[in-house]
Amino acid sequence: MAEAWKGPLQKVDDWRWLIPRSYKKGMLTDGMIYASEKMISVIRKDQAPEQVANVACLPGIVGKSLAMPDIHWGYGFPIGGVAATEEKGGVISPGGVGFDINCGVRVIKTNLTEEEVKPHMEKLLSLLFSHIPSGVGSEGKLSFSIPELERVMEKGARYIISRGFGFGEDEENIEERGAMEGANPEAVSAKARERGKDQLGSLGSGNHFLELEVVERIFRPDLAEAFGLFPGQVIIMVHTGSRGLGHQVCTDYLQEMQKAMSRYGISVPDRQLACAPCNSPEGRGYFEAMACSANFAWANRQLITHWVREVFEQVFQKSAPALGMSILYDVAHNIAKWEEHEVEGKKMKLCVHRKGATRAFSAGNPTLPPHYRGVGQPVLIPGDMGTGSYILVGTELAMQETFGSTCHGAGRVMSRSEADRRSKGRDIAGELKERGILVRAESKATLREEIPEAYKDVGEVVEVVERAGISKKVVYARPLGVIKG
């Protein structure tokens, strides 16, 4: 097992823990972990805090090296890590985004209640399972030509919507309106295209899923109403990313940056933190290719949304608009973005890396769609398989402290092999069924690696961001059925 971390963690308050800049040579700023006292003992069990300290060594880092309460041991950045770098003198690091570029979450609303959906659950899940490709190496049902793939990389979900897979209003309920600026397909290698081209419109495997949930608890009725959520309402959560395209883009640029670092006189404590100046050819190339992958991921979630709507239309014999199937929001949790933030009273253009962290902009932010500008952005936090999800909203304090970022999910606490040992001989699907959750999975091994006890309690994670004031809870939704890859 992993070695425990023995470095210094200074308690700032009940929810904030500081790794002082003096901890190790090369740190340019402090590290800050958002966690409860109880979580800290778990966080110390592996090398995640060391990774927070390593990120603090990135040239041009602005503010602190941050980690959300779902922090866990990653490679390069910790999962749950957030770091902003400045435009001039700052670096961009593919390891600060990860291999699954724009892995993210989308929630589709319905106007159906649990009572209305319950009798159709078996049929719904079977149809969703057969209509939405999932599993290892799963391929989409549609084939896209190379010019079409380039349009996807440039225009993301907007292109897919223009092809008839969605409604015009969908785009405003997606981060970046479903297409990030600066995407340049020429920066994407032939290998990355090859790996991604057949996977558009597929869920993939691992922790990716599609879940039917019912809104069970409302914490803030005014915000829930503004988001169009009500008790007993059935919603659909989609969790997937850019599939093989993003994996290869990250692989390609990590290798390129290994070579480039010495040329730029950069050294980092972990090779996985390989980086290049934001304005260098390597840095720009990575950003352009990463944006292409992010757009691919938004297109992917858009296609899946279309098939979810088709299945509901078939089962309930009503059109998707009549079923109220609009998108609540779509958030990325592995991404780097150019954003404007106020730092010590000065507006700065920053490259914000979020690796297993969600953008959580507060009310008043001009980049939000008009209907959320008055309340703040919906933040979608999936739990693990079987524990349900939270929908939060961003706060002003998050804008000041975390570059408008918050947690992204539960976070693993158990290795896959330990999960495999603990689930040996167990009927995981049967156990979940007893708790009222139906599961369809492509692979039994995935189910066993993803057992609920392998994850932190998402409720505790969300409690920390609420208490720390960087997000507010709006609703909790309980799972009814899950599709796993």
Partner: protein, 139 residues
Amino acid sequence: MDKFEILDHTADVGLVAWGKSKEELFANAALGMFSLICDAEEVDGGFTTPVEVEGSDYEDLLVTWLNELLYLFEAEEVVLKQFTIQELGQYYLKAQVEGEPLNSQKHHIKRVVKACTYYEVKVEEVEPQLWRAQVYFDI
């Protein structure tokens, strides 16, 4: 000497490989990685291809080699089981790899390995004629 050993990691999976030579080491690391994807007993022949990669040192070469094999698995849809290293210098590797086109009826794919990372990567000659390598994969 074991060929390889799987390391526990909270979110992902690590691998330690051994070899009497660095050529054997690189072949065993590839075997170890494919053991995460599918059981070697399920894989027969029928596919072979040359692989060439470049790197800035042995560590970079190892990561690049393993990522190239993951690319073949995903883009060419082949499962691999035999790795013959023909040339291996500090900056260059040439190999012939063998396996079988992926058949979902026959090959039970255990998980997706998204990539081989540079995190804590090590390639070292721990004693004469005993090489050891360590890598972590993103799962």
